[in-house]
């Protein structure tokens, strides 16, 4: 059996395992189009434009439109596209697993993610921390109170270029989290309580100290970020308008950074006004496979 066959069999069995997991739990699979009339709106994700539309950076918008039309709990396993993302754990085209649950709480969704991950990376005990607690434990600082000047000495070991040193406190906090804190995580970690600015399409709440936080979680397995989930803004939260405002702000921020801006998808906002309350999560399918076989490069799990 050649190495190529082994790789393909492994990947095929993984796809099948994922599908069975969700069919057994009563979800149905959907395949929303990858080619959309409107670009995804995010400050730091660049969509790929074609002559006839934009390739989706995640199936989120399509799936939410389906939920607004009355779809049951759904999952999608598809290729997504992001301009210029290439590294040992990134490719411009990769496979995203995304699903939405109308009947689960955020905590129940986290457990469902851990159950799925266990099929690929078993025997991991997961710790739970808030974003702030992670900073306190691993760097001894309060990310909601620290100033940029106070943070810079902690980043010295990263030998930042001048342009990075000139970036905002938020950017430097994110860098500190991924380069100084994530590597110190135990094999299983769930982080919640991200700052409100990273809420994307999620609800915003307050932590015990009164800081505005996104109702969002991320799951790290062996130091690698694998899943990103949210308590989604739904109809009851006046979400159509809320989302439109957030998108407008994102476009303004993009313009400030000399990034491309786009037209807004009014249909999406109309759909969100009808979307039931739900929780949702996006998981890097290729990364899950990498972790299952301790691969160091995403190429090790891709067919070509």
């Amino acid at each position: 059996m050649s190495a190529v066959s082994n790789k393909l069999i492994f990947r095929s069995e993984a796809l099948s395992k994922v599908r069975s997991f969700f069919y057994d739990r009563g979800l149905i699979e959907v395949d929303c189009p990858a080619l959309e009339d409107h670009a995804s709106v995010d400050l730091y994700i660049e969509p790929i434009e074609t002559e006839c539309g934009y390739l989706h950076t995640s199936p989120e918008y399509g799936m939410k439109k389906l939920l607004a039309l009355g779809a049951p709990d759904i999952f999608q396993l598809s290729h997504v596209f992001r301009r210029e993302e290439k590294g040992t754990r990134h490719r411009p085209e990769f496979t995203m697993l995304e699903w939405y649950r109308k009947t689960l709480t955020l905590d129940e969704l986290i457990q469902e993610c851990l159950d799925l991950i266990a099929l690929f990376v078993p025997n991991i005990a997961y710790e739970r921390l808030s974003w702030k607690e992670a900073f306190m434990r691993y760097l001894g600082i309060d990310p909601f109170k620290i100033s940029k000047e106070e943070l810079l000495p902690y980043l010295e070991s990263l030998t930042l270029s001048q342009a990075v040193l000139d970036s905002s406190l938020d950017t430097l906090l994110d860098l500190a989290f991924s380069e100084l804190i994530e590597p110190k995580f135990p094999p299983g970690m769930v982080i919640q309580g991200f700052p409100a600015r990273s809420a994307a399409l999620a609800k915003i709440g307050k932590d015990s100290a009164g800081n505005l936080v996104a109702l969002r979680f991320e799951i790290y397995v062996k130091g690698c970020e694998v899943a990103n989930g949210y308590d989604e803004l739904g109809a009851s939260s006046g979400s159509g308008n809320e989302l439109k405002e957030r998108f407008k702000q994102t476009l303004i921020n993009r313009e400030k950074e000399n990034l491309r801006t786009f037209t807004l998808d009014e249909q999406l906002f109309a759909a969100l006004d009808k979307m039931p309350e739900c929780v949702g999560v996006a998981m890097g399918f290729d990364r899950l496979l990498m972790l299952a076989i301790d691969a160091t490069d995403i190429q090790d799990v891709l067919p070509l």
């Binding site: 995010d42 400050l43 730091y44 994700i45 210029e84 993302e85 290439k86 590294g87 040992t88 754990r89 990134h90 990263l158 030998t159 930042l160 270029s161 342009a163 990075v164 970036s167 938020d170 950017t171 906090l173 994110d174 860098l175 989290f177 991924s178 380069e179 991200f194 990273s198 994307a200 990103n228």
Partner: protein, 188 residues
């Protein structure tokens, strides 16, 4: 010329604050769903020190005017080494003092890897192993091993001063590792 840090590849020569580096590795990092960065490992071409630096993936860096050439030493004349490019027959004259320590491995008709930065030679690499004649060394006294000495100083035909085993005499050919200046073996 400038390139985006995102386009930096292993082996590319870049310049930061007028110092030339070669990129050893670059990894794309995307923390917190925020801005993307590139963590780059670089080797300073003048000091050979390896450093790491974190750039924004959208930052532009300058491509260094660095050229690597394999040049053949024709001869040395009045403190200068005359090299020739075998494919173009172009000749380059370099003061020996510019070659630093590497000059001790210069032997006529051998090919050396020469690195130019902004038109000036900043580094030269001799072939990893060279067969050179011992031109000067005190005769080894048999039985001297009692005192614990197994090596003795010697000068090679290129001027390099290294340690050789005491049983090697003048006029013998030996194989040397030019990276470390160490005796490897005797050539019969």
């Amino acid at each position: 010329m400038e390139i985006g840090t995102n386009d930096l590849k292993q082996g590319m020569k870049i310049e930061i604050d007028s110092v030339p580096y070669v990129a050893l590795s670059c990894d794309f990092v995307k923390p917190g769903k925020g801005q993307a960065f590139c963590r780059v490992k670089l080797r300073n071409l003048t000091s050979a020190k390896v450093i790491e630096k974190t750039f924004k993936s959208t930052e532009k860096i300058t491509v260094a005017d660095v050229l690597e050439s394999n040049l053949r030493l024709l001869y040395i004349d009045q403190g200068e080494a005359i090299f020739m490019d075998d494919s173009s027959y172009e000749q380059t004259q370099v003061p020996l003092k510019n070659l630093g320590d590497s000059a001790r491995w210069l032997k006529d008709d051998f090919v050396y890897k020469v690195i130019f930065y902004q038109g000036n030679i900043i580094d030269m690499e001799a072939p990893t192993f060279m067969e050179l004649k011992v031109t000067q060394s005190m005769p080894g006294v048999r039985g001297d091993t009692a005192s614990g000495r197994v090596m003795k100083p010697a000068t090679l035909e290129t001027g390099a001063e290294i340690q050789i085993p005491i049983f090697i005499e003048e006029d013998e050919m030996i194989k040397v590792d030019t990276r470390t200046g160490e005796y490897v073996s005797r050539i019969k």
